[in-house]
Structures are given as structure tokens and as C-alpha cells.
């Protein structure tokens, strides 16, 4: 599902060149849950954004579902992202003025004429958010927000789920819910790449890789 070959990313900043990733190669098959562990600043988020078609690599190759998103036009890449990749972030990035239902439905905006409301409600029910369906993020607990974000990531039935510290801000109970969902997603022939420095998360992964200073150990 996901192949990364010699992926490098260099940032040019005012303080000089920063090598965020250096010749990273890995693969995640369908039904596989891979965790990448590493301390802060090790390049985890850069890896995730590069895999997600959001950050053009300085070198190397990324293939998702047999397609290199960086060979596509920006519009096609956006469409590819919407249809193939799901994102879950530590900061949730929920839209503050939208209800739980609308937040879950946001990915459907990428597809004109999309009717995803039943799928959204199904996910909301699955994440035990039915009684919060009309609430805006400001009225939700941290766990509820992350569950909402997870539901949103799964709306379009992605093939690859990218999770950036999905349980970093959660208590054990909520973390277990989220990680169970990721595991469940992987078992239903999805591929999960999770970056985290949380040991709880690593327990659910089929494979755990260590990233340090932009290099896989």
C-alpha cells in the first residue's frame, strides 16, 4: 500500500540547512499497522506529511496505492488525498464553528454531490458520539474531539490512515478507543502509519520503527 524509498527532506532556514529526513525507506502493506516512534524533532511529522502528499520530498520516492502523488497536479493530488488517505492529528484540527456531524463531513466537501451523511452518522455512533452530534468542538472533551477527528479521517474509506500522535493528549480510556479503531481499520485491509513517542500506541502496532535525527534505526 505504502512504499517509501530513500526519502529525504531538507529545509532551508535562516539558520542554515536542516536535514529533517535522511534516506528513509519503509513500506506498509494493507492490513498492516506500523508505528514510527521517536523523540520530538526526530522528523516524525515531516515523514507523515511527506507520505500524505502534503510536503514535497527533497529526494526519494513515495508511492501510495501504487501512485506517486508528487507526480500529480496539485488538484489531482488533493483529490487523491481525499479519496485515498485519512489524516488524524494530535491537535485534532476540528473546525471550531462546525458541529460533530459537520466536522466528520468535512472530507466530503472534496467530492461534489457527495452524500456521506449516513456514513458520518455510522462513524459517530461507532465512536460513541451520537449524543454529541450537534455539539461544536468547544463543547467537547479532549477525548471526544480526538474521536471526532478519527471519525472524520475514516469518512471517505481511505486506504491509508496517517496518524500523528493520535493519543498524545488522551487519557488511557480514550487512547485505547482510538488505538482500537486504528487496529480495527488495519484489520479491515487498511494500512496505518502512526508516528508517536507514546509507548501505549506502540503496543497496538504490528510493527514499530524507530526514527532518530531523520533516520530510521
Amino acid at each position: 500500500m505504502l512504499f517509501i524509498k530513500n526519502l529525504s527532506k531538507v529545509f532551508k532556514g535562516p539558520k542554515g540547512i536542516v536535514q529533517a529526513l535522511e534516506s528513509v525507506s519503509l513500506s506498509v502493506k494493507a492490513s498492516e499497522f506500523v508505528a514510527v516512534q521517536g523523540p520530538s524533532g526526530s522528523g516524525k511529522t515531516t515523514l507523515l506529511l511527506s507520505v500524505g502528499g502534503l510536503l514535497v520530498p527533497s529526494d526519494g520516492e513515495v508511492t501510495v496505492d501504487n501512485q506517486n502523488p508528487y507526480l500529480m497536479s496539485p488538484d489531482n493530488r488533493a483529490h487523491f488525498r481525499a479519496s485515498t488517505i485519512g489524516f488524524a492529528f494530535q491537535q485534532f484540527y476540528l473546525v471550531p464553528y462546525l458541529s460533530v456531524l459537520d466536522n466528520v463531513l468535512v472530507p466530503s466537501l472534496a467530492f461534489p454531490q457527495s452524500i456521506a451523511i449516513d456514513r458520518a452518522k455510522e462513524l459517530i455512533n461507532r465512536f460513541n458520539l451520537t449524543d454529541r452530534i450537534g455539539h461544536v468542538p468547544g463543547e467537547l472533551s479532549t477525548g471526544e474531539r480526538q474521536r471526532t477527528a478519527m471519525a472524520r479521517a475514516l469518512l471517505n474509506n481511505p486506504k491509508l490512515l496517517l496518524a500523528d500522535e493520535p493519543v498524545g493528549n488522551l487519557d488511557n480510556e480514550n487512547a485505547n478507543i482510538v488505538l482500537s479503531v486504528l487496529e480495527e481499520f488495519a484489520s479491515s485491509s487498511g494500512a496505518v502509519l502512526m508516528v508517536t513517542h507514546d509507548n501505549r500506541a506502540a503496543k497496538y502496532a504490528h510493527k514499530t520503527l524507530q526514527l532518530k535525527n531523520g533516520k530510521l534505526l
Binding site: T45, L54, L55, P74, H79, V95, L109, A110
Partner: protein, 426 residues
């Protein structure tokens, strides 16, 4: 959920910012509509004032016209009947007619039934040298007094005839020759008795000698001839003088008729002058109204664009602020697969939305302000007249476009933002 729903929900969430945006459009549209309504109201009032004044002037002129007609009827006017071949240029140069016509013409006229002519005075007039008085130049006029109309009751004559062997002298003649009434004098070999001495008139009359027509004809060798018939105090209404001319020409085809300058003409001129003055007042009022309009227009010419420009900048600033505040949202929308043009749409649609709301409220508010500030009285008819559907249509179309233009750059910035950059740095 659709993008429009997203835009509406965001606008409701960011109420203050959205209301400030609407306010900007209301101000811009309101000022424009108000100024245009005031100008329209001014034009309407100008039309009303001018129409009223014109009507008043017409009424006054009609009354004046009627008054003068009555005056003309009382005063009558004077006509001079001259021989057909008489060049008027010679007549005016010499001061009398040089051609002559049969004296019988006056009898023909007196026998006619032209009721508008009242007094007939035939005369022969000629400039001569007075041999007995060192060849001095005088004007000799032979007159037989007034010729009565045979088909009418006799009227009191306005001029008495000079009896034969009598002479009436102008001021300059009797004064310089030291003559007085009763003195005997000789003219062209004939003896005359001075029967009257005229006071000074300051005209050619002062060197004129009046004698009996027949004697004058003999003295100048034009027996049975006259060179003018004066028709005095003719009655005529308005412009019927042309008809009188025609009537005279029917009786005396070989003549020409001219109207002598008279008080009637003077009065007519006075009436014309009065009309001119009234028209001048009307034009002055019109000019004043135009000047006032130009002043409003000049003020509006810089004020309205300035306000609109200010509002555009204001909307642009609000949009820019909106983009800045929604950075994370833009990042996640992009990450979740929204295309650049969809992001652009989210921001432009908001601008269009506030443009529509603002234009609608601004149109109504501006129209009410324009009505209240304008010169016309507030009533249904005024509202109906001042309401300009075309202006409303243009404003309703233009305001959302301008709001979109104002938000274009911030929306473009939003669409071009790198989601990875946002998500990494948030």
C-alpha cells in the same frame, strides 16, 4: 454539507467580522444610493419649481397680454398709407414720401366700410426753398384736415384743416422770422396770414409750414395729388393689423401701408420686455438649481468614490484578518483534499454573501436617507418616482462583485497557503 453551508456557518460563527463586512457594504452602497436619490430628488424638485414658475409666468403673461389688448383697443394705432412705388428707404431718409398718388384715393377710402380705420388725413409734403426768406429750406405740408367717412356718423375731428390763405408755422420758422399770429407773409409768391404758431417740438415740425392742401398742390405743381394718407387711432385687436392692411390694399391696391411707431408698439415692447424679465427670472432660477446640483455632484464625485474605496479596503482588511484567523482551518481543509479553488470559493463566497446582504440593506437605508435628506415631500408618489429599479439592480450586482474583488487577494493568499507549512507550525 456543501461549501455554501460551510460559508454560512462560518459567517454565523464570526458574527462580528461578518457584520462589520456588511456594515462596510451598507456604508458604501448607502452613500451611493443616498447621493443619487438626493440628486434625483433635486432634479424632481427643480422640474416642479420650474414648471410652477413657468405656469405662473404664463398666467401673468396671459393677464398682461389681455391688459395690453384692452389698452391697444382704447389707444388704437396709427397707419400711414403711401404710394406703392415709394421706396421706404427714401421715405425714412427724407422724412416724407417723394412719390405721389391721386387725392381721390382718400375719397375712396372714406367711402369704404373698413370699420377699423377712424380718422383720415390726406397730405402733400415737400421740402422746398423759401425764396422770400433768403432761400431757406422748409418743409411745406398741404392738408385739408380730416376727411369724414361717408358711411358712418360724423366724429369729432382730431385735426382741424388750415383754411386757404392761412399758414401754420413751426417753432423755428416763426421764432427766427420774428413772426406772430396775424402777421402776413409771402411764400412762393402767395400771401398767407399766420394763423397759428406751434410751440417747440424738437423735430422737423419746427421747420414745417402747414397750408391748405389745394394751395400746396398748386405751389408745388402737383394738382390733385397727395403723397400720404395718415390713418389715426385705428382700432385693432392684437395682431389684426395685418387684416387691416389687407382691407386697405383691397380698396387701394396701388398703395402700401406702414405702421407708425406708437405708444401701442411701445407698450407691446414693454410687454415683451416684461416677458423677457420673467424668462430671465426663470432662467436664473434654473441656473441656480443647476449650480446647486453641480455642487452636490462635485461633492459626490470625490466623496462617494472615497467612501467606496475606504469600504473596499475595509472589506479587504477584514478578509485578510479572516484568512489569518483561519489558518489552521485552511490547512486541514487542504489536507483533507479540498482544492485551491474550493478554498478560494470559501472566502470569495463569504465576500459575495456580505455583498448581497450589505447591498440589500444599503439600498434600502440609502434610499430612506436620500428621501429624508432630499427636497421632495415624502409620500407614495415621491417614493414611486424616485425609486430607480435600474440603480438597485446595478448596485445589487456590483456590490457583491466589488466585495469579491476586495477579498480577492486575501482569498488568493488562503488558497495558495501551504498546508504542510501550516500543520507543521500550528
Amino acid at each position: 454539507m456543501t461549501l455554501w453551508q460551510l460559508v454560512i456557518k462560518e459567517s454565523r460563527y464570526q458574527r462580528l467580522s461578518f457584520c462589520l463586512g456588511i456594515l462596510a457594504v451598507i456604508v458604501a452602497v448607502g452613500v451611493l444610493v443616498a447621493v443619487l436619490t438626493i440628486l434625483r430628488s433635486h432634479d424632481l424638485q427643480t422640474q416642479k419649481i420650474l414648471a410652477l414658475k413657468e405656469e405662473e409666468m404664463e398666467k401673468e403673461m396671459s393677464i398682461m397680454e389681455d391688459d395690453y389688448r384692452k389698452i391697444m383697443k382704447i389707444l388704437g394705432f396709427n397707419l400711414l398709407i403711401l404710394p406703392e412705388g415709394q421706396q421706404l428707404s427714401d421715405f425714412y431718409a427724407e422724412g416724407y414720401a417723394t412719390k405721389d398718388m391721386p387725392e381721390e384715393y382718400v375719397e375712396r377710402l372714406s367711402a369704404s366700410n373698413i370699420m377699423t380705420i377712424r380718422h383720415l388725413l390726406p397730405s402733400i409734403e415737400q421740402k422746398i426753398r423759401w425764396p422770400e426768406q433768403r432761400m431757406r429750406t422748409i418743409i411745406l405740408i398741404g392738408t385739408r384736415g380730416e376727411v369724414p367717412f361717408t358711411k358712418r356718423d360724423p366724429m369729432e375731428p382730431i385735426l382741424v384743416a388750415v383754411p386757404p390763405e392761412n399758414i401754420v408755422l413751426g417753432y423755428e420758422l416763426w421764432k427766427s422770422l420774428n413772426l406772430k399770429v396775424g402777421d402776413k407773409i409771402k411764400l412762393l409768391g402767395k400771401d398767407f396770414k399766420v394763423s397759428e404758431c406751434h410751440p417747440q417740438r424738437g423735430s422737423k415740425d419746427d421747420i414745417t409750414a402747414w397750408i391748405d392742401l389745394k394751395q400746396a398742390q398748386e405751389l408745388v405743381g402737383k394738382q390733385g395729388k397727395i403723397n400720404a394718407i395718415l390713418a389715426l387711432k385705428c382700432h385693432c385687436l392684437g395682431n389684426e393689423i395685418e387684416n387691416v392692411r389687407k382691407d386697405i390694399k383691397n380698396v387701394l391696391p396701388n398703395t402700401q401701408v406702414i405702421e407708425l411707431a406708437s405708444r401701442v408698439i411701445t407698450r407691446a415692447e414693454a410687454r415683451d420686455r416684461a416677458k423677457e424679465t420673467a424668462e430671465f427670472v426663470l432662467v436664473s432660477e434654473k441656473n441656480y438649481r443647476i449650480k446647486l446640483r453641480n455642487e452636490i455632484e462635485e461633492f459626490a464625485a470625490w466623496f462617494v468614490p472615497l467612501i467606496i474605496l475606504g469600504c473596499i479596503v475595509w472589506i479587504g482588511f477584514l478578509a485578510f484578518n479572516n484568512v489569518r484567523e483561519r489558518k489552521a482551518e485552511i490547512g486541514i481543509l487542504s489536507a483533507l483534499g479540498l482544492r485551491s479553488k474550493q478554498i478560494l470559493f470559501v472566502f470569495l463566497a463569504k465576500a459575495v454573501l456580505l455583498g448581497i446582504f450589505g447591498a440589500l440593506i444599503g439600498c434600502i437605508a440609502g434610499f430612506i436617507v436620500g428621501l429624508a435628506s432630499g427636497e421632495t415631500v415624502f409620500n407614495f408618489e415621491t417614493v414611486r418616482t424616485l425609486f430607480n429599479p435600474f440603480l438597485f439592480l446595478v448596485v445589487m450586482l456590483t456590490a457583491p462583485i466589488l466585495a469579491g474583488v476586495a477579498s480577492w487577494i486575501p482569498a488568493l493568499i488562503a488558497a495558495k497557503q501551504d498546508p504542510a507549512d501550516i500543520l507543521r507550525n500550528e
